[in-house]
Symmetry: C2
Subunit: 538 residues, 2 copies
Amino acid sequence: MTKVSITELTPGTMLERSADVFGSKTAIVYEHTALTYEEFRQATIRTARALLASGVRPGDRVAYLMPNLPEMLIAHFAVPLIPAVLVAINTRLSGPEIEYILDHSGASILVVDSALHPVVADHLDGRPELREVVVLHDPASGAGPVASHTSFDEFVARGSDEPLPFAVDDEERTISINYTSGTTGRPKGVMYSHRGGYLNAIAELIHSNHVPESVYLWTLPMFHCNGWCTTWAVTAIGGTHICLRAPEPGAIWKAIREHGVTHLNAAPTVLVSMVNHPDAGPLPQRDGNPFVVTTAGAPPSPTIIAQMNELGAKMVHVYGLTETYGPYSICEPQPEWADVPLEERVRLMARQGVAFIGADPIRVVDEDMNDVPRDGETMGEVVMRGNNVMKGYHDDADATERAFRGGWFHSGDLGVWHPDGYIQLRDRSKDIIISGGENISTIEVEQAIVSHDAVLEAAVVAMPHEKWGERPIAYVTLKPGASAEPDEIIVHVRDRLAHFKAPDVVEIVDQLPKTSTGKIQKFVLREPLWANRETRIN
Amino acid sequence: MTKVSITELTPGTMLERSADVFGSKTAIVYEHTALTYEEFRQATIRTARALLASGVRPGDRVAYLMPNLPEMLIAHFAVPLIPAVLVAINTRLSGPEIEYILDHSGASILVVDSALHPVVADHLDGRPELREVVVLHDPASGAGPVASHTSFDEFVARGSDEPLPFAVDDEERTISINYTSGTTGRPKGVMYSHRGGYLNAIAELIHSNHVPESVYLWTLPMFHCNGWCTTWAVTAIGGTHICLRAPEPGAIWKAIREHGVTHLNAAPTVLVSMVNHPDAGPLPQRDGNPFVVTTAGAPPSPTIIAQMNELGAKMVHVYGLTETYGPYSICEPQPEWADVPLEERVRLMARQGVAFIGADPIRVVDEDMNDVPRDGETMGEVVMRGNNVMKGYHDDADATERAFRGGWFHSGDLGVWHPDGYIQLRDRSKDIIISGGENISTIEVEQAIVSHDAVLEAAVVAMPHEKWGERPIAYVTLKPGASAEPDEIIVHVRDRLAHFKAPDVVEIVDQLPKTSTGKIQKFVLREPLWANRETRIN
């Protein structure tokens, strides 16, 4: 029987509708080019056809290594259309890290920005499943074209304008794999479904107050959780995407004023760079509606919330993980907060809040999966479930099973539950450092450090940083009789990992604080670093 | 395996979230009572528990015959919670019509407002599956309590506060059955699913610009498509429901000013009564946002759109049928319309438009299911498909198959497709008359007329009516030698059907215009009635 009453949910239908309804409206702006929604659809079909002509088949993985360019946005519709799986790789990773993701995902095609090509140039040969590398040359990058691979123009020329149905055969099919920063040393491939992408995009749309008049600035990298599903959400409502190669504060302010931006998403660290920039000033207000800033990636400090409010921003504070399609919870403002003094209000707003519309209730649980008391004091682990939780880790059933133990996704984040039902993060059980919105696995950095011949043990923790929120600091013990300078260890890490993961400070110590069973007590190292801060960041 | 990544979609989760997040906020206001969201949840659980204690089992039908009271809204969550099926009956139907619906749906319980009890009093005995009748006494109705049945208080006292999970085992399960006006003489039971109710509510929420600050006035009957799924949508966003026993224009204006209403849904006829009422005046604007009026049920005239705009309303014009959960399409405003002269703009706005977010594209097709040209002239039938289309007709596989032929739902509405992709209704192939937002089946009225001994044949068509939009007029031929007065025939119909279905005018004629195959040519009767109208309503 034809399913007259059921259409499988897929973000693809979001582009189809906006192209049907807002065909002549500006969909994407970048530098001196602009695409209408009809052109957006045509570019999507042409790219999808090019992928098919290049031998990509349903379920194959297609990797993109690219900043927030129109082609990256188009890939969010073109790859699922055929229906393949998008792997949008973090552009800040090092060659070996990207190599690992290419191999683990088994990507058959890599599309790479020519300015990023040098990072991976030495890591493209001998990949078992990588059949072709396509290089996009963006003149605005300053980098030249790369002759040794297929150019993006050649690639797209393989396509055609022959329509493809904006539909999927099964809404639980994987739409994308987004790699975590790897809390156990290796990144894990988080699988999103078409259904999950659709429902999360709709929730984003509601909670960030998007309207067809939205002009959305791409400060948030699209490789983070597919831009928190905003790639799909802004397209669904028929808003205008303003692409930006790099979220530098000067470029952000310029774009806001030039394009009449109404919405942006950003980690608190980007907001800090914005408010401290000489170009900072009142944010535009559309027809009396406030400029909407949706923030996540790290708990925003009350200070930055208050500063953004002063510039005219309505702050939407959300929280989630790669495993939850980006945002899962929102600090939903209560009517009575309007009467609360500013200082108290921003403190309330700095909490991680309650589940999104469409998400199952968020919980804070003890080790037996019982709710912790709602006292704002008892710590527990934050767990989630439902349509806003990943399908699982790609090709890692063990890790999936561990993460899903007890029928809930275990975030690894520790928090408390307040009497009003709002949750608040207190610590991260996995000791992840969030630097400029990027996750840094301390374990990964520690492993890089201990690979130095002179090092015995290492413990990396987060230290507060005005610009980046957090930066890694390493406490290192040396092997008996060995010697090494801190700078030498930093260089050693930079040779092995993305530069932003290397610690800013290395302290050589005689011994590390440990529990009786020999486990390093990181909190002993961390506490003095944070104790003197006027306001706790969490 | 536990489905960590999938939660079955159900509107139930919408109430759960708002009770969790906005527990102390006002959810429902009626006369002198107000319920918070936590109280809304508790009342829902208590009612659901009372249904269970009364022997209602999953899948059983529970009928409500009630105006827009808090208990009717609560039923939209309580009945699906256990999970039974809500049958909200049109309060304007006659006893025999309600009797038919009770029998056809096989409702095991009927909950009826004491003021409506007299309509059904003689039709409650001998119903094969109806086990119990519960009568709610609303003092504001002016009617007294009814002692002969279970009182609502007794019924609810059977319940308890023991929690029930706001979840459903299968999102494709039936959540409600909404009866059509019966285009082939008998009403058909349109089955909605939990998934469809959820997705449509979300779409309503987006297109009607609902926000947590929404104060929604219940002018639209909840028995119409579960209030176009707004019962669930306003609850999802955490807005405030203002209940109203009868949508009289004086009461509407009073409620708007008393409660700071921000949103309402209404058929154009209700809007006409509003603008022509002595209390009419500027509509309140929340923080500079326009008052939102979502209209459907009949094509709104450009005149009423312009009049509502003048009072400060943003008009959201939507179109759909009972079979499409209420609204399926929206006349989405285009940016360039802002520069179009008012007269032209309201003409554009009076079209039925494009599919909702979440709905499959709407089509106008010829008899072979091919798209008609987008010329604004070629007529075809409007067809729909996907998550916003009913599961089918309850206990009527034949009618379902006919309605779903070719893999699409056939609306029976005739329309044209404009070059900009917007559809516009031109006629109704089923000859339905829409009077004051209520559908009247001409076939049903004709059958009532011909049941009069003196009548040979009858043809009922719509004539224009300033207040109700359309009213039925009957052309009647008499049996040879028989005689009957028009008034006598009108009384005959009123004895058999809801009074509003009786024709305003009966004309006794010698013969009816017919095709060569003997089919009555209704358009020949209709055209002269509509030809002199300055503006076509469609």
